[in-house]
């Protein structure tokens, strides 16, 4: 039988009919659909037993309690711990994203030694033994040459065991240069020291205050312990507590406040003094406090009455005099009025004059160490290690002045002045810093005046980062000794920013370390051991956990169980506490600083004609601007009026923009005395004309593709402004120029 065309055709038709009657086409259609529902490249998360681990978040100084949900051995979600004294179940946007940092591509997987030039990001993985040997070799040599004091450490932490171990290491080694990263904490501590004579941090009984007067504090931007502040804010709303926000830009805090007073930038302290003027003039102050517990009022009063009448205040601050008077009255007449300062998140200290003026307001209404007021919270007392026995080298090293000058005659009250380091390093030859450790900090990004910083950086021969993440500082270091990430390690958190009770939180290992990392505490102990006596002698512990055991004793077990310890019934005094100043009273004008203390205003850098505008940085809860950069989830929430593609938007008032010829979204060149950057313009009715608002927390060069290269680092355009009285960095802005490109 011949297979001709016709037969072939009928064969095909038969085949088609048969195929249609077979499962083949139908099952294939179905299976292809099912394939598309289960694409192998779409991950399928594994199931398992669900467990919860309670620990403490270490992504900011807030000290929140977090509960990590685990499925099998995977951590899948971070939630706030209900009943926790600081955050009671709430959690912030950054804390929620912790797992993206834990499992993310920014982690440093192992000890890394720089392979190319600094900052080129070429690395060589080395063993922990080799890495530690490298450090020991350097340190031993420096010590041998009696240059132990040229080792410095920049640390984001100082109260807990790890910070203290590091500080102790420097002491035993022979260097006074343990430098904590700057924040408003410096200014508040100094204020309490000067006015109340105590070494304490400021705690705020925000839950019980009934009138909030905020001098630019970003209560809803991340100031203090953010979640606690949010909760307090909600409680205020429920109770009808009045909030007055004083700042030149409509921040979230300002928008949520009952009254927003757009004050001329940098003149907040003047307004505080103006309020004091009204209070004193109208005798609205709380006499039972002022008369019995304070000193120096008369002198201060004279000054305030003569200098800061509401008219004068209006001329400087732009706040209408009747507003000042009304505000002063309602503030003073409230039962528990509370004045706060520290701009934005409080990441820059600020001028001591301003802090003292605001603190004096609290004193005028008697709200010191009292319900709803400012409490002096003593530092952690649980670390009672024996004194370091210093050998001659160490003693000699410790005798050397600190590189940042803190504690020297000029900066007698300052404890840490990190902003001075770049200048000092650049000035001297050879560099005053021969070796630099960086622990839980990212100064390469957070320090202002990047150009100077870079110069200083180049002069430091040996830089070691302990960072868990490839941040800017790690990227520009010579050696990275990656710490376990906070979800992988034990560490005590000795402090919750702005919390009004002594508090210890414990971070616990939620999961096994994901990479070849080592606890910074263990690294310090191993370095000490390798350096031998006398350094070794100061560290009688086998390992960090041993140190923790030794430090807390039996208390560690309870801490492990509850995750935190708080002195719930802490009160700084049943009535008013005894002040530890020379007079034993609250000092309105501390003797030590009397003239400088009245210098309330700090001028921004730059001159008028060249830089007609003023650039002010502004913080946002959605932009982490400290040691940690925004993880992918958080950067995703940043509005497109702040970041679009890689372009950063600066906020300008429509009138100001019009004068320059800029419209919404237009590209512009933003120049300051410290540098310039290409930006785009977002017109915002909520910013005072003549100002340029720049968001902080962007412009990273390191981390991953989700963050690097996006926007502009506000710090690069700013420079430190030294407060004459304290030496603290008091910069709140800088003169700037915005031009079309």
């Amino acid at each position: 039988m011949k297979m001709d065309r016709r037969s072939f055709l009928s064969f095909l038709i038969g085949g088609a009919a048969g195929t249609t009657l077979s499962p083949l086409p139908w099952k294939l259609t179905d299976d292809l659909a099912i394939w598309s529902q289960n694409w192998p490249w779409t991950p399928v998360p594994a199931g398992g037993e669900v467990t919860f681990v309670e620990t403490t978040c270490m992504l900011c100084p807030g000290g929140c309690g977090v509960t990590v949900r685990k499925v099998g051995d995977r951590a899948v979600k971070i939630e706030g711990t209900p009943g926790h004294p600081v955050n009671d179940g709430g959690i912030c946007i950054l804390g929620l994203s912790g797992l993206q940092l834990l499992y993310g591509p920014t982690r440093v997987p192992a000890p890394l030694r720089r392979a190319g030039g600094r900052g080129e990001n070429h690395w060589e993985k080395i063993s922990w033994d080799d890495a530690l040997a490298l450090v020991v070799e350097k340190l031993a040599a420096l010590r041998e040459n009696r240059l132990s004091h040229t080792l410095a450490c920049i640390s984001g932490t100082d109260g807990g065991t790890v910070g203290r171990l590091m500080e102790r290491f420097l002491t035993a080694y022979g260097s006074p240069n343990f430098i904590r990263t700057p924040s408003m904490r410096d200014a508040y501590e100094m204020t309490l020291h000067l006015m109340q004579g105590v070494q304490a941090s400021a705690g705020f009984d925000v839950e019980n205050a009934d009138f909030i007067l905020s001098f630019g504090s970003g209560i809803l931007e991340g100031w203090g312990s953010p979640v606690r502040m949010f909760r307090a804010h909600s409680a205020w709303k429920e109770k009808g507590v009045k909030v007055v926000q004083i700042e030149p830009r409509l921040s979230n805090t300002a928008a949520k406040s009952d009254k927003w007073l757009p004050v001329n930038p940098g003149t907040e302290a003047v307004l505080a003094l103006g309020l004091a003027h009204v209070i004193l003039k109208e005798s609205l102050h709380r006499k039972e406090f002022v008369d019995f517990y304070a000193s120096g009022l008369d002198r201060w009063k004279n000054e305030v009455i003569s200098k800061w009448t509401p008219e004068q205040v209006e001329a400087v601050t732009g706040i209408d005099k009747s507003t000042t008077v009304a505000l002063a009255r309602s503030f003073a007449r409230a039962d528990h009025p509370l004045a706060l300062c520290g701009r934005g998140k409080g990441s820059t200290p600020g001028s001591i004059g301003e802090f003292m003026a605001v603190h004096a307001l609290n004193a005028l209404v008697g709200n010191i160490n009292r319900k709803g007021g400012v409490w002096a919270v003593p530092g952690p007392d649980y670390i009672r290690w024996p004194e370091v026995e210093m050998d001659a080298t160490a003693a000699a090293g410790m005798q050397q002045p600190r590189i940042d000058g803190a504690g020297t005659e000029k900066y007698i009250f300052a404890r840490h002045l990190l902003h001075r380091v770049p200048e000092m390093v650049t000035a001297a030859d050879p560099s005053l810093v021969q070796a630099l450790f960086i622990l839980e900090a990212n100064p390469y990004y957070t320090l202002s005046d990047s150009a100077l910083l870079k110069k200083a950086w180049d002069k430091i021969p040996f830089i070691v980062s302990f960072s868990s993440f490839m941040d800017e500082t790690a990227q520009n270091a010579d050696l990275i000794l990656p710490n376990h990430m906070y979800l992988e390690r034990y560490e005590d958190v000795s402090y919750a920013e702005g919390f009004n009770k002594p508090y210890i939180g414990l971070a616990k290992p939620v999961i096994h370390p994901q990479f070849s990392t080592m606890h910074a505490g263990d690294v310090i102990l191993r370095l000490a051991k390798a350096l031998g006596d006398p350094v070794q002698k100061a560290f009688p512990w086998e390992d960090y956990e041993g140190c923790l055991d030794d430090t807390f004793g039996d208390a560690l077990e309870t801490l492990r169980e509850t995750g935190y310890r708080v002195e719930a019934d802490f009160a700084p005094g049943s009535g008013y506490p005894v002040f530890e100043t020379a007079s034993g009273r609250f000092e309105f004008i501390p003797e030590e600083i009397r003239d400088a203390g009245m210098q309330a205003m700090v001028q921004p850098q730059g001159e008028e004609p060249a830089f007609p505008l003023i650039l002010i940085p502004f913080d946002s809860q959605r932009l982490a601007n400290g040691y940690i950069g925004d993880p992918p989830f958080v950067i995703k929430t940043v509005p497109d009026t702040v970041l679009k593609g890689d372009a950063l938007f600066v906020e300008v008032h429509p009138e100001t923009a019009k004068a320059i010829g800029l419209s919404e979204g237009r590209a512009a060149l933003l120049a300051t005395p410290k540098g310039q950057a290409r930006v785009r313009v977002h017109l915002f009715e909520g910013i005072m004309p003549g100002l340029v608002g720049i968001p902080t927390g962007l412009g990273h060069q390191a981390y991953d593709g989700y963050l690097a290269g996006k926007g502009v680092n506000a710090n690069a355009l700013m420079g430190p402004v030294e407060d004459g009285a304290s030496g603290l960095n008091a910069a709140w802005g800088i003169r700037a120029k915005l031009s079309r490109v």
Binding site: T29, L32, A33, W35, S36, Q37
Partner: protein, 439 residues
């Protein structure tokens, strides 16, 4: 060369010239196919669509080609159900255009959905309350009808027709063609309408939402009506263009005149209905939701009141007026102007119903999102155009699409050709069985 395949009694250009002229179109086709494959393989991120524009150029193209392809069902309706015999001379072409439009629409839909491999869910797991389900079902069925209607034309190719089976099949298909046409018209009335319903039922989109009759919003009826009005315009336009390209008269003027007249009446009535609908929407429907008429036409860089004028006046009232006058219909330029304006009008209408519907901010604190298509969207939208040109070209070359062609263009030089009837008579073409009219 390939003249054995030509319809009887007509002249065609040599094959190389034919292919060469199609070259650019084929290039366009390939460009479109590349873009299509990119969309399938890499996903819809190749487009400029976004979460505000879930529907965009493609859905507009879909709605538009179906409206324009409406010439097929409406001409069929007039020819087979109303009995306008004269239209048999344009019905083949109308069916061809319809076939192209509908196959294109289906292809675009297959590209437009995010999971093409699951596209059949719309049939298997149908939600009968969804206008889109109605669209998909009727569209597919009507495409089947069009295939059935187009098939005899293919089988009438001179060589295929020699096969007895095919010849017989053609014969019998012509026999039952009114039944198919009726089914097609039935399906078309529904899916043209449900395409209108797609936008009209969106009660979350005040720009598109309309009240209506039972489950059907007014847009349902307006869409059917407008397809019936503007579809024939498109058929006329393409026929005229084909005449221009081939340099021959292919259809007699009285056929054009009849179709144009009917289209004119449809358009006139449609545009009156559309104006009433717009008026009612602007004064009753939208204000009931707190929105004012001008809110839909201001504060954005594109959608001004001009678009409404373009759609209703320039694309509706004017062409309707031209088509309603005998002079307008019989002046070639006026006729062409009218059908082109009409086609523009319906394109704008479909654009507005898809794109402006989505652009109008509904949340009071949102702005107007703007959109322009990516090149992949443009290429895939032009793909059907290229494919359509190619199919028309091949159909014209090898199939007896225009029954009056031989009569209107007698081949004088070849004595072998059948004797040409006098051009001015209305006599049937010699080989009458080539025409569906015979069935």
């Amino acid at each position: 060369m390939d003249d054995a395949l030509f319809p009887k009694g007509v002249k065609r250009c040599p094959l190389p010239e034919f292919l060469m002229k199609l070259g650019p179109v084929v290039a366009l086709l390939i460009w479109g196919v590349v873009a299509m494959l990119m969309c399938w393989i890499k996903g819809l991120n190749q487009t400029n669509m976004n979460d505000a524009y879930g529907f965009a150029a493609w859905i507009w193209a879909d709605l538009t080609v179906i409206a324009l392809g409406g010439g097929a069902f409406f001409t069929g309706f007039l020819r087979y159900l109303i009995g306008k015999e004269k239209l048999k001379n344009i019905i083949n072409f109308a069916v061809l255009i319809g076939f192209i439009c509908y196959s294109s629409a289906l292809l675009i839909l297959a590209i437009d959905i995010g999971q093409p491999l699951r596209g059949w869910f719309i049939f298997w797991h149908a939600n009968v309350h969804s206008m889109l389900t109605e669209v998909a079902f009727c569209l597919t069925c009507y495409f089947g009808v069009l295939t059935i209607e187009y098939l005899p034309l293919v089988l009438e190719n001179r060589q295929i027709d020699r096969v007895p089976f095919f010849h017989n099949l053609t014969h019998h298909m012509h026999e039952v063609m009114p039944l198919f046409a009726a089914t097609g018209a039935f399906l078309s009335f529904f899916h043209q309408g449900s395409l209108g319903g797609v936008a009209g039922v969106l009660f979350g989109r005040p720009f598109a939402f309309r009240e209506g009759l039972f489950i059907w919003p007014w847009t349902f009826f307006l869409f059917t009506w407008s397809a019936a009005a503007y579809g024939p315009c498109f058929t006329i336009m393409l026929a005229k263009i084909t005449e221009k390209v081939t340099g021959k008269r292919l259809i007699k003027d009285d056929v054009y005149d009849l179709l144009a007249k009917i289209a004119g009446w449809m358009m006139a009535t449609y545009i009156v209905a559309k104006i009433i609908d717009t008026w009612y929407w602007a004064t009753v429907t939208a204000p009931a939701r707190g929105m004012t008429f001008m809110q839909f036409y201001s504060n954005n860089p594109l959608y001004g009141i001009w678009i409404l004028i373009l759609e209703i006046v320039i694309g509706g009232v004017i062409p309707a007026a031209i088509l309603l006058t005998r002079k307008g219909r019989n002046t070639p330029f006026a006729l062409m102007t009218a059908v082109v304006l009409g086609v523009i009008g319906v394109c704008v209408n479909r654009w507005v119903m898809v794109l402006q519907t989505l652009a109008v901010p509904v949340l009071p604190f949102e702005g107007w999102p703007m959109y322009y298509p990516s090149w992949q969207e443009v290429a895939t939208t032009l793909l059907p155009v290229a494919y359509g040109i190619i199919l028309v070209a091949f159909s014209y070359r090898y199939l007896p699409v225009f029954p009056q062609e031989a009569e209107l263009n007698p081949i004088v030089s070849e004595p072998a050709a059948p004797p040409a009837p006098a051009p001015d008579t209305d006599a049937e073409p010699a080989d009458a069985e080539l025409s569906p009219a015979q069935a």
